[in-house]
Amino acid sequence: MSETNQEFEPRIVAFVCNWCTYAGADLAGTSRLKYATNVKIVRFPCTGRIDFMLLLKAFEEGADGIIVSGCHPNDCHYTSGNFHARRRWTVFRGLLDFMGIDVRRIHFTWVSAAEGAKWADIVNETVADIRALGPYDEYKSIASNFEKEAAK
């Protein structure tokens, strides 16, 4: 990769809950807050709906970093979706780390509908962190091809 880290623009995918973070991001927009443009937001009904495979697929398709964001504990629109999600991420992070997948590239946050400024900060921090880590070529390199392996 010829890009240096200064030129490297991270590709970030954010998986967010419709009831809080998505509205928070909206608020950041209507408040005219300026923040990094590297994020593609994917809206979900609840963090409980965010299958861990979605995160792996994002890395496979070229994401360098991921944000997962939902409602603060006790604020879930469906009472307990975020509590279930929290357990899932705890287990998932441990497993990924054990397998050598870079969990520093996945940022988990709680952002409410009122926290437009927090959302802008989270995005800026994530972009800065991922910029420092560089592109996630390690993951992409195994995602690209398999016939080379067979021919090697």
């Binding site: 398709e61 016939e147 067979a150």
Partner: protein
């Protein structure tokens, strides 16, 4: 031999040989003769992946608006390959594979890979209780299908039989001077002995009319329904075809499949003709010892014993075939 292998590697051909990693020996591409494993009986996987890869692209496509371009696989890019230190049973496995891939349809990818492959077998120096090649028409010194067969002699010399033109072409100039006539050498003295436990004709005869026999369930109660036996087998050729589609293009992929899986025969409409593991086990045995001999005139088993070595629950094929041979 090392010198010869070294010059084959230098010639730019892809050379594949058994390599030991951790506790198992498997075929791998080598870059030095020193990598070749010694003192083992059988590789864990067969060599079939070099003519029938575990996953391969059939074609790929790109989408640009309404335009779609399709790219066929360029078979010219397949590397010239020498499979070094195969056992005679590895080569025996290519006959049924070739028959399957040229039965009703000539499979260009299989045939292109096969045409670019030269087979160097080593007569087996050792066998174990899983081996039963002699029972299915093979043997540890069988030369059928090999391009070259090597028999290692106790003094470090090797008896080299150049069987085909492809094999003769493999003899590089630098070692032609090292050769001498092999008259009077009896290679049988230097190779493993494999006992004959049954004959294929016996099995084929017993299997006639066995379709409803209770033996299938008795034998397969413990079968877990994994694909280990099929995937290590040198003759199993069942495959799945899948799409790998993305926004701007994709590819169609062929990959190994196994008749032992419960969903292997599941129809789109929901009907599954083989609902029990015993029906799937019966299919496995009948396919190899009944359908293939009948339709392709070849036995679907080489007696390599890999399925029995790999099975987590000791589904031992020799034991089961012997049982079938003695079944009333």
């Amino acid at each position: 031999m090392e010198q010869w292998l070294g010059s084959l590697i230098k010639s730019g051909k892809r050379v594949v040989a058994p390599v030991k990693h951790d506790d198992i020996v498997d075929f791998a591409v080598i870059s030095s003769p020193a990598q070749v494993a010694d003192d083992y009986v059988q590789t864990r996987l067969s060599a079939k992946q070099y003519v029938f890869p575990k996953a391969e692209v059939l074609f790929s496509y790109k989408k640009d608006g309404k335009d779609v371009t399709i790219d066929d696989v360029n078979t010219d890019e397949f590397p010239e390959t020498v499979l070094w230190k195969l056992h005679p049973c590895d080569v025996a496995g290519l006959e049924p594979l070739g028959a399957i891939f040229n039965w009703d349809y000539k499979d260009s990818l299989y045939n292109a890979r096969r045409a670019k492959t030269t087979l160097v077998t080593f007569a087996c120096a050792a066998s174990d209780e899983y081996c039963f090649c002699a029972s299915v028409g093979g043997g540890p010194g069988n030369t059928d299908g090999s391009d070259v067969q090597v028999t290692m002699l106790p003094d470090g010399d090797a008896l080299v039989e150049l069987i085909s033109d492809k094999g003769k072409a493999l003899l590089t100039d630098d070692i032609k001077g090292e050769t001498s006539s092999a008259d009077g050498i009896d290679k049988e003295k230097f190779i493993a002995k494999v006992e004959k436990k049954f004959t294929v004709d016996e099995i084929i005869k017993k299997l006639e009319g066995s379709f409803s026999s209770p033996i299938w369930q008795e034998q397969s109660d413990r079968c877990l329904g994994c694909g280990a036996c099929a995937y290590v087998c040198p003759t199993c050729a069942c495959f799945d075809i899948q799409e790998d589609s993305h926004l701007h293009g994709g590819r169609r992929v062929r990959s190994w499949d196994s008749c032992g899986f419960s969903l292997f025969t599941l129809h789109t409409g929901g009907y599954n003709p083989r609902t029990t593991q015993s029906a799937r086990w019966r299919q496995r045995v009948l396919h190899k010892f009944s359908y293939m001999p009948e339709r392709l005139h070849v036995t679907g088993c080489t007696g390599c014993g890999r399925c029995s070595r790999a099975c987590p629950v000791d589904m031992n094929l020799v034991e089961h075939l012997t049982e079938i041979a003695s079944h009333e």
